[in-house]
């Protein structure tokens, strides 16, 4: 099962990150002697490094290369992607998550292969 306490993997000690409290308008920076009431918590240092590395390394450039192919191969399906490969696919999201869990894939990157519009439009959210 994948019910670890952190998305990156194994259960890790969590500590309040003191400098995060500086986002508040406090005159006294937070620190060990002045703990922050912040609800934000970090995984340990290795967890941060891993997350940052993943975001930078996996720059999603592959999307432009593979997206159309996957949309043809898995129309309207949910897929789990890792290292530019489709590891699991399903027509149902819950079923896909179960499959990913069974396969030992932690924190799977899930995409839905919705058809791209033939005519483009601009968006204003």
């Amino acid at each position: 099962m994948l019910n670890e306490s952190q998305p990156g993997g194994a259960t890790q000690a969590i500590h309040y990150n003191s400098w995060l409290a500086n986002i508040a308008t406090t005159a006294r920076p937070s620190g060990p002697e002045n703990p922050s009431p912040s609800l934000f918590v970090y995984a340990d240092e290795s967890g941060i490094e891993e997350a940052v590395k993943e975001q930078e390394d996996d720059s999603l450039k592959w999307i432009a290369d593979y997206l159309k192919q996957w949309m043809n191969d898995y129309p309207d399906k949910w897929i789990v992607v890792k290292n530019k490969e489709v590891l699991e696919s399903s027509e149902d999201l819950v079923d896909l998550l179960k499959r990913a869990s069974k396969a030992g894939i932690r924190n799977p990157l899930v995409l839905k292969m919705e058809p791209l519009p033939l005519r483009k439009w601009r968006t204003a959210f």
């Binding site: 099962m1 994948l2 019910n3 670890e4 952190q6 998305p7 990156g8 969590i14 990150n17 400098w19 995060l20 500086n22 986002i23 912040s38 609800l39 934000f40 918590v41 970090y42 995984a43 967890g47 941060i48 490094e49 891993e50 997350a51 940052v52 993943e54 975001q55 930078e56 996996d58 720059s59 999603l60 450039k61 999307i63 432009a64 997206l67 999201l93 819950v94 998550l97 869990s101 932690r106 924190n107 799977p108 990157l109 899930v110 995409l111 839905k112 919705e114 058809p115 791209l116 519009p117 483009k120 439009w121 968006t123 204003a124 959210f125």
Partner: protein, 141 residues
């Protein structure tokens, strides 16, 4: 209107997130993880959006999150707000985990799972350079 030139503060960013090309268009897309009702995590691709307040996910994802309550949500093209489902779960971005409200509503963009609004930003500093197609992040704002 006159423009006043000011020297802004120097900001440093440790992380660069390049925009992503989808169907010939470039978007600031970030990877964000969510804890599901199954007590497992899944990672989704969201559009970084400084104009949005909440994190918004498409209705397709609603059934893997706790049932929520109805809230009013307004958007471009609407004169009046409409009701949308709001729920809460743990959210992870760049190693930082926090409990956050997420709103379930239609997002008119294929491929992405939703919008990463400012509720997800609070602990970070962001820089945005459209012409360079890069998003900059600091974990020490």
């Amino acid at each position: 209107m006159s423009q006043v030139k000011r020297n802004g503060p120097t900001k440093k960013f440790e992380i660069t997130i390049p925009f992503t090309e989808i169907n010939g268009e470039w978007y600031p897309i970030v990877e964000v993880s969510f804890r599901t009702v199954f007590n497992e995590w899944l990672k989704l691709l969201l559009i970084f959006d400084t104009g949005a307040e909440p994190i918004v996910l498409k209705p397709d994802y609603a059934h893997v999150f706790p049932s929520g309550t109805e809230e009013l949500l307004g958007g471009i093209g609407e004169e009046k707000p409409h009701t949308a489902l709001a729920t809460e779960t743990e959210v992870e971005f760049l190693g930082l985990v926090h409990k956050c409200e997420i709103v379930i509503d239609k997002v008119p963009k294929p491929f992405v799972a939703g919008i990463f609004g400012r509720d997800g930003f609070k602990a970070f500093g962001f820089g945005f350079w459209e012409s360079a197609r890069e998003l900059y992040v600091t974990l020490k704002p």
